[in-house]
Amino acid sequence: MTVYLSLSGVLFLIGLHGFFTARSLLRRLLALNVLTTAVFLLFVVLARLAEPLDPVPHAIVLTGIVVTVSTTAVALALVVRIAGRVRDEDDDAAAGPRGDAG
């Protein structure tokens, strides 16, 4: 179990570092997903250490996975919209006279 506890800590740090320092929004989102996985791992290790096996953290993590995919989907939709807007502005600035570059 120590292996999985340390894994949880390492994944937490990797996710946190990526989340704070990445410039690209998509990378930030990936890091956030790694971060949530680290927290889920901590929950499940705690459930495993209990005697008998504790099903409540399992149910909470299942809920958490669905909430994470919802968050990721909304954030991705926003990232795609933002990128589209930035691209339009760049195209306008770079290729103004040529009209739309498609």
Binding site: I14, G15, H17, R23, S24, L30, P55, L62, I65, V79
Partner: protein
């Protein structure tokens, strides 16, 4: 099992750390996304090792499958503009912030884990399992003891779909040009299998790992595969428009079950004595259908509409 198990855990942990590092640090975004998907699949193995088969199923189907499909489709939209020429990471400024902030967060989490009641709730759940109407403890927690969590969770999923649809119309065409002529045939061949597996998982949920979440995710993945294979999503066409209510079926049924309890003199979310088993099965079917359709709705990235849609392939 002893030594082999320890070696397996160690290798798995190393692989997971490497993949997480690649997912957050790889210079190429495609590389990062694929690393993340493999990370999700290996995490499913870790969940099995931790005796959490329910989470393993959900992680493989939702964490790696549905999230992977969403990420790859977003990557396709972002492909023409990548941050290759930009700075990938904030060089020095963030260190002063993220180390203390991260340390505090990690410390808080450790403290919270330390303070948790030591033996857990395993005993209590097992003691009242007979009354719950199902034989599988995790399903009992999800749909009976803590059904409010499930209600709110489906609410969050519905809210996410509503948010994405309200951002605008789905892009057209919905999917990129046909990548391979084998895909439509394979998609049609596999879809019945997806339906069968989903039904099996749903039924299995009452006595073994499975249930509405993996079942819904598998069915949603089958629908996404059909979409990629060139099928017209029926949710889009105007004649089936009213069927969109299935999106909110799970939430509505759970709410109805909760309120019926209160109205008939029982506690909030208390099921009538003896009827818990059938009620949970009914709720699971409703929630599974909703989850499948909601995951599919998330994948569309916008409100589907009749106009502005080009037939892809033929």
């Amino acid at each position: 099992m002893g030594v082999a198990g320890v070696i397996f855990d160690g290798l798995l942990a190393l692989a997971l750390v490497w993949l997480a590092w690649q997912a957050t640090r790889a210079a190429d975004l495609f590389h990062a996304v694929v690393s993340f998907i493999v990370f999700g699949l290996l995490m499913a193995l870790a969940w099995v090792r931790l005796e959490a088969p329910d989470i393993a199923l959900a992680e493989a189907a939702i964490g790696a499958g549905a999230t992977g499909a969403l990420l790859l489709s977003a990557l396709d939209r972002l492909a023409t503009r990548d941050g290759y020429h930009r700075v990938l990471y904030e060089p020095t400024t963030a260190w002063g912030f993220w180390i203390p902030a991260g340390g505090a967060l990690l410390g808080g989490l450790t403290l919270a884990a330390w303070k948790l009641p030591a033996p857990g709730l395993g005993e209590e759940v097992l003691a009242s399992l007979k009354l719950s109407g199902v034989d599988h403890p995790v399903t009992a927690v999800l749909l009976n003891f803590r059904a409010l969590d499930t209600l709110l969770e489906i609410g969050v999923l519905l809210l996410a779909a509503v948010t994405i649809w309200s951002l605008g119309r789905a892009p057209s065409p919905l999917v990129p040009a046909m990548p391979s002529p084998a895909l439509p045939a394979l998609g049609r061949l596999l879809f019945p299998v997806f339906v069968l597996v989903a039904a099996y998982l749903l039924w299995r949920g009452s006595h073994a790992p499975g249930g509405a979440f993996p079942a819904g995710a598998v069915l949603g993945a089958g629908a996404i595969l059909m979409l990629l294979a060139g099928a017209r999503p029926w949710i889009r066409s105007s004649e089936h428009g009213p069927w969109r209510w299935i999106l909110s079926l799970g939430l509505a049924m759970l709410l109805a079950a909760a309120v019926t309890g209160s109205l008939s003199g029982l506690a909030f979310f208390e099921y009538p004595r003896g009827a818990a088993g059938p009620m949970i099965l009914l709720l699971e079917v409703a929630a599974g259908l909703s989850i499948a359709l909601l995951l599919f709705a998330l994948y569309l990235r916008g409100e589907p509409c009749e106009h502005g849609y080009r037939e892809v392939g033929s």
